[in-house]
């Protein structure tokens, strides 16, 4: 009798428990009537949109929603116009966080309170939750990331030339000297990227900042509590100058660095003999390597591999630098809510990867074996296991500072001797940008105070 009661009690306990589990698994995946979701994105071309469709296929099937995709490279202008004019898209996918920070600050973006905050906190951890949170409210979700602190190389080429992977910055510089003596270039760097030219150089600088300063200093730099002309920042640029100030270190010299499109930059590593031996770039570059001449035959992990950007000052170790896509909601509809929830599910990214897309899931419940190859798995592990992780600084900065950062890095490659004036320039832009923001916050504070006083 007692046994029966026990079993009954256990059984009763199981029911709510199982309901919880069920709820977690299916999220909000029920059929929704008359559901059309408008989605604005920069994704286009042969791969990105099909990957997206693969990714949301389960969602579309379960809910019966139609997702109308609008894609444009001019996402921020179009989004700005639509928001201001009163017909924003339901959901927008933004590659750069800083670009829509203004939207967040002004409340055009809707809070995501309806999502299961506890589950999200557990599955995404502080880092990713913080990035989408403003004033303790979640506004954005970031399901897909790339890790950036990777240096790519060709193991066969290294072996043939007798090189070893450097374990520190000094060893890296020595390796560069050796490579140059042997007749090749050390790094292949490509900064050309249309209106965004210079962004790979900002990644370099961010990695170096993380390795020459504490995490607090890095954060202060992003917030502009540390100025661009400070000693810490200048030292980081100097270190970068150790590479880009040496014409021989770069494939094609500084001219090559400036003129080469970032997507074509890894290719000199795979010619015979190699034009260069190292390429510092984020994990997404893998799909570009396949586009290099002869690239389709290269096997990840065997013909090309990566090592973590080496430490510079041992006390700061090797934090991981990364970036991610952010999704934000602008119209509150059942369909939009359901889609936002779907994007935070553990296996959401599976469809994207299946189609050949690159990226790493930020959700720590994502099964590692769903990654297409060894290298991506390793990158994912690095991301999950990084003791310290920081988001790409330029993505977090206001739009015009970001732009000044890009342009400044281009100037630096052209004229390494002008470092001080370059930094001063960025500093000036930052002061007016952050100054404006501070004024806004002050104004808001004043208004709030006045309201309070008068109520």
């Amino acid at each position: 009798m007692k046994k029966l009661l026990l079993i009954l009690a256990l059984g009763l306990l199981m029911i709510p428990g199982s309901a919880l589990i069920l709820a977690q698994d299916t999220g909000m995946m029920e059929p929704i009537e008359d559901c059309t979701i408008s989605f604005l994105t920069v994704w286009s071309g042969e791969d990105e949109l099909p990957n997206w469709e693969n990714m949301v296929a389960p969602f579309v099937e379960a809910t019966g929603c139609t997702i109308e995709v609008e894609s444009t490279r001019d996402l921020v202008p179009v989004l700005t116009t639509r928001v201001e004019a009163g017909n924003p898209p339901d959901i927008a996918g933004v590659p750069s966080f800083g670009a829509i920070r203004t939207f967040l600050d002004q409340g055009d973006v809707l809070p995501l309170d309806f999502l299961d905050q506890a589950r999200l906190q557990e599955q995404f951890g502080d880092v990713w939750m913080e990035l989408g949170t403003v004033d303790d409210t979640l506004y954005g979700v970031l399901p897909r990331a790339a890790i950036k602190s990777l240096v790519w190389y060709s193991p066969p080429a290294f072996e043939a030339a007798g090189y070893t992977v450097p374990a520190s910055w000094d060893e890296l510089l020595d390796l560069c000297e050796q490579i140059v003596d042997d007749g090749a270039a050390c790094f292949s760097i490509g900064l050309e990227s249309g209106a965004a030219s210079g962004w790979p150089a900002t990644d370099w600088l961010e990695d170096i900042m993380l390795r020459t300063n504490s995490l607090e200093t890095y954060d202060a730099w992003v917030d502009h509590t540390v100025s661009w002309t400070s000693e810490e920042v200048t030292l980081a640029w100097d270190a970068f100058g150790d590479i880009v100030g040496e014409p021989d270190f770069q494939f094609g010299g500084p001219d090559g660095t400036l003129a080469t499109n970032f997507g074509a930059a890894p290719c000199p590593l795979f010619t015979d003999p190699p034009g260069a031996y190292l390429h510092r770039q984020a994990s997404f570059i893998q799909s570009f390597i396949a586009d290099c001449p002869g690239g389709e035959n290269l096997v990840p992990g065997e013909d090309f591999d990566f090592f973590l950007f080496p430490p510079i000052d041992d006390q700061y170790g090797t934090p991981a630098l990364g970036s991610a896509d952010m999704f934000a909601m602008f119209n509150d509809t059942p369909g939009a809510r359901a889609l936002m929830d779907y994007l935070t599910q553990p296996e959401a990214l599976a469809g994207w990867l299946e189609g050949g897309g690159s990226g790493i899931a930020t959700n720590n419940q994502f099964p590692l074996d769903l990654y297409p190859d060894v290298l991506t798995q390793r990158a994912a592990q690095v991301l999950q296991e990084a003791t310290a992780f920081r988001f790409d600084a330029s993505d977090l900065m206001p739009g015009d500072v970001n732009q000044a950062f890009w342009s400044g890095s281009l100037d630096f490659v052209q004229n390494p001797d002008n470092l001080n004036s370059i930094l001063q320039n960025i500093e000036d832009v930052a002061q007016s940008a952050y100054g404006a923001m501070a004024e806004d916050m002050e104004a808001e504070g004043d208004m709030a105070a006045t309201e309070e006083a008068s109520s």
Partner: protein, 490 residues
């Protein structure tokens, strides 16, 4: 003209739709813009002339003002000038329709197309090294590098032979064949090549190797297997020949490939400097200074035998010996020595040149427009004027300057003012090709960036827009003045 009462109301009927559309689409936004130019970023607080102050003093805006001025002069003169010349010239040939269509064609191409088209003209690829030359895909840089190519291995071999180092050209060619032929066979075995392909390549190999010595890397479309090793192999053969020289023949080598000797000196000196710093015999600052001076000093030593003065130099007493003992050339040394050709030019990213490069694109697009309008007016000049002048014996230039231009003056004014307005608003070309970077900033691009660049600086953008509009007003006033003159004549 009969003035009737009904004219006043009828005119409303005729002009009404236009007025309504223009008010909604252009007048209302302009008024709104002017209002916003005095407000803060979000359009909430009045800030007086702050935005204007920003617009006038910000460095990128000042750069934009300068550039717009440059565009103003060159673009306008270019489009109107070429438009006029083309109109006049094509008027006199039988294939007029074809010629005019060709000149007008760029106006029919979208900006995406124009961007790609001019990429194929301005593109820059790293030029590679003399022994591993790169290929340009941009037309201009192909011309620049092709017109003054680097020296080739053949040149180096010839120079060595002149100095009594007997390097047989054929030996080098054979060495290349020796490395490529087996690689081709191996590829056939591995299944990367068909036997047919291999056979064709084997047959072409001697010619290709010889061409390589003359500085022409074989076509990338041909599946050669070991091209990357050709430089190494060639240099190794050369070194074999050099090895036949008696010891101490370094001076000979330095005469032909000076950089191998400079490298030797630099390496020795740098090692010694490192040791000196380690042993505290030298400060690292002084060591750095010496290292910076080293290449130039070594080159000077080779030429004149002069040793550097000053402290810190570690191995100067050994330099003469080092030079004498050089017994081989390196790939790097050879590359540096032969690199005498022109470097490709970065048309898009080099300040000043890039502005002209962009303006040329603009002229290429808009000349057709001017040509069309001017050509129409040209055909309306009574033929008798020209005939009479020709009969009087005037030559073409006199006709052009004394008849054509005066007759076209009104149309020239219309076209010029249209171009001035277009050029002040120029945006697409700059946005697509440089986004305003590298010193190519223009006013309309600044306005766009301020408005949509993510910071939503509506106040700034509006002030810039107002300044732009004000800048164009003098042109409009001139236009109106012309218009009034015409009205008076009617």
């Amino acid at each position: 003209m009969l003035e009737t009462q009904e004219d006043k109301w009828r005119s409303l009927f005729f002009t009404g739709p236009a007025i309504l559309l223009l008010f909604v689409l252009l007048v209302y936004p302009t008024l709104d813009t002017v209002r916003l130019s005095f407000m803060d970023q979000l359009g909430e607080q009045f800030v007086g002339l702050d935005n204007y102050r920003y617009a006038i003093t910000s460095p990128r805006m000042q750069e934009a003002f300068r550039n717009n001025l440059l565009w103003l002069v060159i673009f306008t003169v270019g489009t109107v000038g070429f438009g006029l010349i083309v109109a006049v010239l094509t008027d006199r040939v039988k294939y007029e329709a074809l010629a005019k269509s060709v000149i007008f064609l760029p106006m029919a191409i979208s900006f995406i197309g124009a961007g790609v088209i001019w990429k194929f003209v301005y593109d820059l690829k790293p030029s590679g090294t003399p022994l591993q030359p790169g290929q340009q895909i941009g037309l201009l840089n192909a011309l620049v590098t092709g017109a003054t190519p680097d020296r080739s291995l053949s040149d180096a071999i010839a120079a060595l032979n002149e100095r009594g180092v007997s390097v047989e050209r054929q030996a080098v060619v054979d060495a290349i064949i020796e490395v490529e032929a087996p690689a081709l066979d191996a590829a056939v075995e591995a299944g990367d090549l068909t036997a047919e392909q291999a056979k064709t390549l084997q047959a072409r190999l001697p010619a290709a190797a010889s061409a390589y010595l003359n500085g022409n890397l074989p076509s990338f479309r041909e599946p050669w297997q070991a091209v990357g090793q050709w430089p190494r192999v060639a240099v190794a053969t050369i070194n074999d020949a050099i090895g036949q020289l008696p010891e101490g023949s370094g001076a000979l080598i330095c005469g032909v490939v000076p950089f191998s000797c400079i490298d030797a000196i630099v390496d020795a000196e740098e090692d010694a400097l490192d040791a000196a710093v380690d042993e505290d015999r030298l400060t690292s600052e002084r060591a750095e200074e010496v290292e910076d001076l080293l290449p130039a000093v070594a080159a000077g030593f080779l030429q004149t035998g002069q040793l550097p003065a000053g402290e810190g130099w570690q191995t100067t007493d050994q330099w003469a010996d080092i030079v004498t003992n050089v017994d081989s050339v390196s790939v790097r040394g050879l590359n540096t020595t032969l690199d005498t050709g022109a470097q490709p030019i970065d048309w898009i990213r080099t300040p000043l040149i890039n502005n002209f490069a962009l303006i040329i694109v603009g002229i290429w697009i808009w000349t057709g427009f001017c040509m069309v309008i001017l050509s129409a007016a040209l055909k309306n000049i009574p033929a008798e004027l020209f005939e009479a002048a020709r009969v009087d014996g005037a030559n073409e230039f006199q006709i052009f300057f004394q008849i054509t231009i005066p007759q076209l003056m009104p149309t020239l004014t219309v076209v010029t003012t249209t171009m001035l307005i277009t050029v002040l608003k120029v945006f697409d070309i700059v946005y697509v090709m440089t986004a305003g970077n590298f010193g190519t900033e223009v006013i309309a691009n600044r306005m766009y960036q301020e408005m949509y660049g993510g910071q939503r600086q509506f106040g700034h953008a509006s002030a810039i827009a107002v300044i732009l509009m004000i800048a164009i007003i003098p042109v409009m006033i001139f236009n109106v003045y012309q218009f009034r003159k015409q009205e008076a004549q009617r």
